[in-house]
């Protein structure tokens, strides 16, 4: 392999948090699917914004407000470019993936769903791409339908799609990369299939946005939701991409300042997207952080990130698979940058407590995926998830720690 490009050199030095000991060991941070760490450039961008430019955005006629507005709208343009949207107006800032999906459910769903309609989901959806649809189904009389998962290998059973994706399906929502299985779904194919029956497609990109190229026009999706904090950005900000024609026809979902063109006592008129969907003072400070995160990830190259994280996950899979009694879920070959596993009767929370003792940050539990866990006959799994700063030696540390833990509980 040729030498990595310049930004990868000393990459760990760009993440100040990694330079610490936990329980007497160097921190091994493998909980990146929950949230990634932040590079110094993102932290500095926030610092710079609050030290120099901070003021409320829009309608401001003073210098700081104009600068803050430029920063905020600059972030929108940068995010639009990051996902290859056709225009900045197709990017709505939200608190994150969950709020983005709730926005589609509340706005598009309330205007377009009725009794007899079907919302198609998959069995591998995170609760954030499941509960909002349950809520809107209850309100509109639409029903839910699920594409099954094949079992431990964790693939969508696409042989069932013809039967499930009928003309009653008005919306098909699915994850790009499963946060529990690591499965990479064939998003472009699924979006095309949805389009064939006239259904709108919603992609949960929470686990893909920071780990691989995401191009909304190549994917052909109608909506795409993601969070900043899982892509080296800060918490509290995320975005919804929506195709312009759909956004223009959607009603507001929250009312307040910033989203109106005219207000009377008894009725008001709305601004177009994106303002229509951003009532109240928006999170411009964190948008600046998200802008810096986009720059950081493109500096590394998203193909390279995908290759790096996927390689560590496959290595971890292969090394963990050698431990007697382990059950690894999700596909063995190509996968997102995480691996999820269980050891017989040993509960994930006990395993995670032992790993913490070795300075290793893992996540254990149902990963907001209770229906999937139930289907697989599991109550919890341990999940190790990788990012740009992780190294092979950390996979070694993980495997050694897991071996020690299992030995203790098998005792």
């Amino acid at each position: 392999m040729s030498a990595p490009p310049a930004p990868w050199d000393r990459i760990r030095d760009q993440f100040p948090i990694l330079d610490q000991q936990v329980n007497g060991h160097p921190l091994v941070y493998l909980d990146n699917a929950a949230t990634t760490q932040k590079p110094a450039s993102v932290i500095a961008a926030l610092d710079r914004f609050y030290a120099r430019d901070n003021a409320n955005v829009h309608r401001g006629l003073h210098a700081l407000s104009m600068r803050a507005t430029d920063d905020y709208e600059g972030a929108r343009s940068r995010v639009a470019q990051f996902v290859n949207a056709a225009a900045p107006e197709e990017i709505i800032f939200t608190r994150g993936t969950t709020e983005s999906i709730n926005l589609v459910a509340a706005s598009w769903g309330s205007a377009n769903l009725k009794k007899g309609d079907v919302i198609l989901l998959t069995e591998m959806e995170h609760h954030s791409n499941l509960v909002p649809w349950q809520l809107i189904a209850q309100r509109t009389g639409a029903t839910l339908r699920y594409v099954p998962v094949t079992g431990d290998e964790g693939l969508l059973d696409l042989s069932r799609l013809d039967q499930l994706l009928t003309p009653e399906v008005k919306l098909f929502a699915f994850t790009h990369i499963s946060n529990t299985l690591g499965t990479i779904n064939p998003v472009a194919e699924l979006c095309a299939r949805a389009r064939q029956v006239g259904a709108v497609s919603v992609v949960d990109a929470a686990q893909s946005i920071g780990h691989s190229p995401v191009d909304v026009r190549a994917l052909g999706c109608d909506f795409l939701a993601f969070s900043g904090h899982k892509m080296a950005g800060v918490t509290g900000i995320g975005a919804l991409y929506g195709r312009r024609a759909l956004l223009d026809a959607m009603p507001p979902w929250q009312g307040g300042g910033g989203m109106i063109s005219h207000v009377d006592l008894f009725e008001s008129r709305w601004k177009p997207s994106p303002e229509r969907f951003e009532a109240g003072t928006p999170n411009f400070g964190d948008a600046v952080g998200l802008h810096a995160a986009c720059d950081f990830l493109d500096g590394l190259g998203r193909e390279q990130i995908q290759e790096h994280d996927g390689r560590l996950a496959r290595l971890a899979y292969d090394r963990l698979a050698e431990i007697p009694g382990i059950r690894i879920i999700g596909p063995r070959g190509e996968r997102g940058g995480l691996v999820s596993f269980a050891f017989g009767d040993v509960h994930a929370h006990d395993v995670v407590t032992f790993a913490d003792e070795d300075g290793i940050a893992l996540r254990g539990g149902h990963h907001c995926n209770q229906p999937l866990m139930k289907k697989l006959g599991l109550t919890s799994t341990v999940r190790a998830s990788f990012y740009v700063y992780n190294e092979e030696r950390e996979v070694d540390a993980l495997v050694a720690s897991m071996r020690r833990t299992i030995k203790f509980f098998a005792g």
Partner: protein, 151 residues
């Protein structure tokens, strides 16, 4: 292994986790309650046969970490034969042990849980089954969750 971790996973706890006592549903139970720890996904059902005010039989079913399973198992061995008032007093002692780490003066298997206090996130694991048991005793069939009380 650190002192804290070996205190947490004492032999008594490991033993109850591997070989839980009184696991399963009592067919003659006249009281039961369900407990949930939503942040962990832990669940626990406690079944009682009350004879007057005395716990004649007690059992549990559930899933969760070693701490929660061992706690439920050990609890059943401690509560059998107790009255409601005695059970409440025992829970008070157990609560003190897991939150302060102070072991009681009289010798008690419950002292095995003193190590929990060094892991505040695990206190809920240890107390889940106790809350379900007290709920069953009070005849309140409503499911309980660890989110509805502080520990």
């Amino acid at each position: 292994m650190s002192a804290e971790l070996s205190d947490l996973y004492q032999n008594v706890i490991l033993d109850h986790n591997r070989r839980p006592r009184n696991r399963g549903r009592i067919p003659t139970a006249n009281r039961s309650a369900h407990g949930d720890n939503p942040s962990c996904g832990d669940q626990c059902d406690v079944f009682l046969r009350l004879d007057g005010d005395r716990i004649a039989e007690i059992s549990f079913e559930g899933s969760g970490c070693a701490i929660s399973q061992a706690s439920a198992s050990l609890m059943t061995t401690q509560l059998k034969g107790k009255t409601t008032a005695e059970a409440e007093k025992l829970y008070g002692e157990f609560h003190e042990i897991v939150t302060s780490g102070h072991e009681p003066e009289e010798i008690s298997d419950l002292a095995a849980f003193a190590g929990v206090h060094a892991f505040p996130a695990r206190i809920k694991c240890a107390t889940l089954s106790w809350h379900a048991a007290l709920n069953a005793l009070h005849g309140d069939g409503a499911p309980i969750t660890t989110e509805s009380h502080t520990d």
